[in-house]
Amino acid sequence: MKEIKIKTRDLTLYYGPKMALNSISIEIPEKEVTAFIGPSGCGKSTFLRTLNRMNDLIPNVRITGEVLVDSLNIYDKQIDVVNLRKKVGMVFQKSNPFAKSIFENVAYGPRINGINNKTKLEEIVETSLKKAFIWEEVKDRLNDSAMALSGGQQQRMCIARTLAVEPEIILMDEPASALDPISTAKIEELIFELKKNYTIVIVTHNMQQAARVSDLTAFFYLGELIEFGKTKKIFTTPDKKHTEEYITGRFG
């Protein structure tokens, strides 16, 4: 087993009076792909968003327990959320390019980090786009609006944009749910490539996708972590009856 990158201890989250996550404890190893599965509303996306504190933006959210990233509790008062998010990047369900050129989209992160040198930016943009397998498709139109790209291209550009900040962990919230099968295949291929260097946590609705791309799978149900283990095991011989029912499609 590899080093543990993210570890949560009794993480509980409330939206106002409603408990959305109940005492989640999990250990996510580095440089592997961990998939969160479960029916919609089970808390898997909410949990993902606690890992880089995106839930901070929602009013009335209360969190107890700990989230340790490299053994540091990210909910510690001393933690700088802005820097945390630079190291724990996120790719969203709906591709969300800024209304700027492709170049400016990818250069956004480096720019806010104070990099203004044109050649340096060009270098970062190129390597990021290459890592996201989209360089060949866009290298001749970097100054075109990112809105002109197809949905799948937009999503890969958003991944490149995240990579440009050089995170260690990439959280993906159903990154392929709005895409056609070909684009989805490209994203999956990309995830497989990225796990060599990054720790990836992916929320997915699509169980085949989880089975294909992930090394570990966590099954969530009604705000609780039901089962967590090797993907192969979860999909063949799950311990819990609930998991089996979900995987075999009896509910969800």
Binding site: M54, R85, K86, K94, A99, Y108, G109, I112
Partner: protein, 299 residues
């Protein structure tokens, strides 16, 4: 029975349609009458010449210039302040907080305060308090800023148009999708960086609409400048912030009610009214079009 219902219903719908028709008809009549009365006098020269013979002849250039200067200074004051207030209300304030609600109430109140009250405030605050204070402290009592001028008139007008800007910009900021803010924050941007790089550029059209509406309002209002800076007649254009200025709306008012021979200047009055009406009309039309596009985009 049902036939009777139909007649009553038809009559009722007819009455409502007629009411709407009356309003539209009045708008058209007003436009047509003013344009008909003014078009013969209207010319390039009319726009660019000074008044002559005690404003009995000649053009309205100083009034156009004064109005333009007024709305320019006004916009410089109102647009940034209005935009920042809108940013506070959408990005920083908690929707339910007492402070946010109080500010909203203040903005709405400000929007309904009669324009003449702004004039009084301009006189009491800008001219007497601020201007008079500056004169006493820095100029040893010499009367320079403690009297009506274009700066005080513009600032008074800025207060009047502040709510116009706030409302337009706020509406536009709300059309910037939450996903874009999240994307920016997830890349490690701070709140202010996100506002500066994503939210403000994303609401440019709203800031534009707000500015246009404010300019249109500022160009047309007369009551606030009656005693804060507008002048009947000036032989020269204002060159300093402490100068008085001529104004299109005020020019119409003066010519129509105070001039020695109202009938003789009637063509000039109509032409001046036409200029002001077309100016505000065009600006408002532009704002309406931009805004309806924005609303469609929001959907």
């Amino acid at each position: 029975m049902s036939r009777k219902k139909d007649i009553t219903g038809g009559f009722f719908i007819g009455v409502t349609a007629f009411s709407a028709f009356v309003i539209i008809a009045v708008i058209i009549i007003l436009l047509v009458v003013i344009i008909k009365g003014g078009k013969d006098t209207f010319s390039w020269e009319f726009l660019t010449a000074f008044p002559e013979d005690g404003m009995m002849k000649g053009g309205i250039f100083p009034a156009i210039y004064g109005t333009a200067l007024l709305v320019l200074i006004m916009s410089i004051a109102a647009v940034p302040f209005g935009t920042i207030t809108a940013i506070y209300l959408t990005e920083y304030a908690h929707e339910k907080s007492v402070l946010a609600q109080t500010i909203r109430f203040a903005v709405r109140t400000l929007a309904t305060v009669p324009s003449i009250i702004f004039g009084l405030f301009g006189l009491g605050f800008f001219i007497k308090f601020v201007g008079g204070g500056v004169d006493d402290f820095f100029l040893g009592g010499e009367l320079k800023w403690g009297q009506p001028n274009i700066l005080w008139a513009s600032l008074t007008m800025a207060l009047l148009t502040l709510p116009v800007v706030i409302v337009s910009v706020e509406e536009a900021i709300r059309t910037v999708p939450r996903e874009l803010r999240e994307a920016s924050l997830a890349l490690g941007a701070t709140k202010w960086e996100t506002i500066k790089r994503i939210v403000i550029p994303g609401s440019r059209s709203g800031i534009m609409t707000g500015t246009i509406l404010a300019v249109s309002r500022g160009a047309g209002e007369v009551a606030p400048i009656l005693f804060t800076g507008a002048a009947y007649y000036l032989a020269t254009l204002p060159t300093s912030m402490s100068d008085q200025f001529m104004n299109l709306g005020y020019h119409i008012y003066i010519l129509a009610t105070q001039s020695a021979n109202v009938d003789q200047t009637l063509p000039i009055q109509f032409a001046t009214t036409m200029v002001l009406l077309l100016l505000t009309f065009t600006l408002n039309l532009a704002a309406v079009i931009i805004r309806s596009r924005l609303r469609r985009k929001a959907k």
